[in-house]
Each structure stands twice: as C-alpha cells, then as structure tokens.
Symmetry: C2
Subunit: 220 residues, 2 copies
Amino acid sequence: MYYKPEIIIRIQKKHRRKDNKTIDTRQALFDAVLELMNRDKSFEAISLREVTREVGINPSAFYRHFPDMNTLGLELVSLSFKTLRQLLKEVRANPVQGSNVIRKSVETFVTYVLAHPRHYHFVIRARLGGVATIRTAIDSELRLLVSELSTDLAQQLNTDTWSTDELKMLAGLMVGAMTRIVEQLLIDNRYHQNIVELIDLGEKQLRLILLGASQWRSQT
Amino acid sequence: MYYKPEIIIRIQKKHRRKDNKTIDTRQALFDAVLELMNRDKSFEAISLREVTREVGINPSAFYRHFPDMNTLGLELVSLSFKTLRQLLKEVRANPVQGSNVIRKSVETFVTYVLAHPRHYHFVIRARLGGVATIRTAIDSELRLLVSELSTDLAQQLNTDTWSTDELKMLAGLMVGAMTRIVEQLLIDNRYHQNIVELIDLGEKQLRLILLGASQWRSQT
DNA sequence: ATATAATGTGAACACTTGTATTATAAACCG
DNA sequence: CGGTTTATAATACAAGTGTTCACATTATAT
C-alpha cells in the first residue's frame, strides 16, 4: 500500500497564450474575467465560453480548474481583498507620520487602487451585481474592514462618548466615502475628473467626517 | 392633404395578466423587468424573451413598445427618478419643521423608498451594472441631485467659508450616505437590520456630517 | 359598420449557451 | 524509459437567444 499524502499539491499547467507568454491557465482564467469586466460586462453576463475563448482554450477545459463560474467569482473576491488586507497591514505597521495625515492616507490608498485597478473594478461592480453568493461574500469582507477600522478608531477616540455601534457608524461613513472615490476613479471617468481632484475630494470628505467626529456627543 | 398632428397620442393596449388585472402592456414590461431584477438578476442578464414570458406575450410583440432592452432600461431610469424628484419637490415646498429635523427627514426618505422599492432596487443595482448607457444616465441623475442639494445647502451655510466645490463635496457625502442606507435597505437584508436601526444609522451619519460642516474651515 | 392603425401570434433563422463524452497530448514520477 | 495522472481538444446535443416576417386580432375613429 502506498502512502497517500493528505495535502495534494496542485500542480498547475502552463498554457501558451497569444502573446507567447506562458502562464498558469488558472491565472489566465482570472485575468480573462477581469479583462471582460473591464470591457463593460457585469460578471453575471460573462459566459463560460467567453472566458475560455479569451484565454484561448477549449470550453470544456474550464472544468479542470473550476466547477463553474460562480466559484471562480468567489475566489476572485477573496483574491482581491487579500491584496487590500495586505496594504492595510502595512499601513498599520508603518503608520503615517507628520502633518497632513489624512492627505497622505488618501494618496497612498488611491495609488494602491490604481496599481490593481482590475481587482477593485471587479469588486465594486460585483458588490451590487446579480450573483447573490458573490454579493454576500464582498459584503462580509467589507463588514470585516469596517470592524477593523472601528477598532483602530477606538484607540484614537474617547470611549466614553463612543459606543461600539457608533464607532462602526463612523467607520462605515469613512469606508463609504472611500468606496465612492474608487467608483469614480475606476468607472466611467468621463467627467474628466483627474486623479488629483479626486484625491482632493476624498481628503476633504474625510477631513469633514473626522471634524464631525471630534465634536461628536452621543445623543440617546 | 390631411392635417398631420405634431403630437401623437400614444394609445396603449390593455393586456390581461395572470392575476386577471388588466394593465398596459408597456407598463407590464416595465414591471416585469423590475420583478426579474427583484429575483436577483442584473439588468444585463435579463433577456428580452424572459421579459415577454413574464408578461405573457409573444417575444416579437416586445418590439411594438421598445426597440430593444436598452431603451426600456433608460426609460426605467427616468421613470424612477421622476418619482424621487417629486418627493424632493414636496419636501422643499413643505420643509420639515420643529426639532429633530434630521431624524424626520431620514424617516420620510426611508418610508418613501420603501413605498417604491422596486424602482430604487433597480437604480441601485443598475448604477454600477454592466450597461454603460444606463450607468451614465443614472450617474447624471445623481449628479443633478447633488447639485440641487448643494444649492439648498448654500442657503443654510456661510458662503464665505464654503466654495461651490466644497458644497458639492458636502452634498455628495450626504447623498452617498443615504445611498448606502438604501442599499442596505433593499439588498440582501440578511443581517436582520430592521428598518428602525437603519434609520438610526442614517440619522447619526447625517448628524455627524452636519456637525463637521458646522465646524468647517476651508483649507487651501 | 367599416376602414385603419395598433398589438399580438407563430414559425423560422442563425447563433450562443452550458455541459457530457471520447480521444489526444503533455507533464510527472518511479 | 514506461506508466499514470492531468490538461486540453474535438465533437455533439439540447436549450435558449435576438430578430424577422407574414399573418391574425383587436381597438379606435370616421
């Protein structure tokens, strides 16, 4: 009898693409979906065949990597948030110093989003899209983000005047404002809002929110 | 030669639905799309045939009312915003009086949204959906809303400390917060957030924003 | 009552879709 | 090397799609 390892190491096939670069097919499938969404398709409207066509493989080969489009989408969600979580980790490790903290934070955030535009484009679009499982996955990731941010805020604010619910309320407001900025940054930027203007906008909104927070008094 | 009237009065056919209520087919098509979106489909993923099936007419009959799904969607956008615009008109005519202005405003807004849930469900979903024309239509409606709100705010705030851009920034923050509330109200309300909690949340967020606004000083 | 315009039907078209089966080719391991 | 696993291809099928066309029905107005 042979020893059967519990952990199966997934060996990934290489596949040759149009541009002659070899790439993991699995990764290529992710990229294809992101690319198709970037061409103005909602995730739900992307067919399995379209994806494989984009990658350049046979439709049936798709099933070697994912049972269906839905699970691909779910993996794409956790993949996208993994990178964001890492950014926040780094920021927490090296807190922004000096004056203009808000400005600098918004700047690093925006440049980060612009470094991974497809992932955030996907998240923002799928957040309210037609596939319930993906929607809820994104939603719980965002809720996690709000929770983390509210514990961070708890250390900065007076816990006498701030209940945990109110901290979440504040964090939600901040995350919401930043989400808006990302939306304007990545979708239909036809109003010629340049990046600097958007950073300006985000900075001012955050500043106003934090100004309100500094004056906050809990009213039953 | 006959007199050709410039204004063509559209005579609408009655159509019998499952529930035996007669209804304009055109209206029935709108309703069918809203209903299908309510069953967790993004607009882009709804087929013309599905819609006609829902209404109970032949697919080809669709073309008697709309040239394609896209224009139906665009009409649905202006239809949805027409009702919202009316609410705001009424509010402006009869401003909320007395104490707790913010609370009352949020309450009337929420009850209003709950009175037309399908329309706002559609708007919120299609805002970031896959069809570019619809997306931009919704976006410009929202921008109009922000502009209107910022002129309203201009009358309440000191114009020395508030530039028009900053007024829009503030209005955008408020509209954004309310949009969030509607999203949580109409989509996947699986966290059992009841309506009162959501009104509470919205009220606090608006209060915090306005608190910040009252302290605002423009920083170049 | 009858002509006219507005709405609806039914069948057909050329495509696209997801998935299953069977076969081929490539990578891996002993 | 040879054998086994894994990835991909080829082909097929039933079901669904948008759109068109010729025709039938219904409503309205003269």
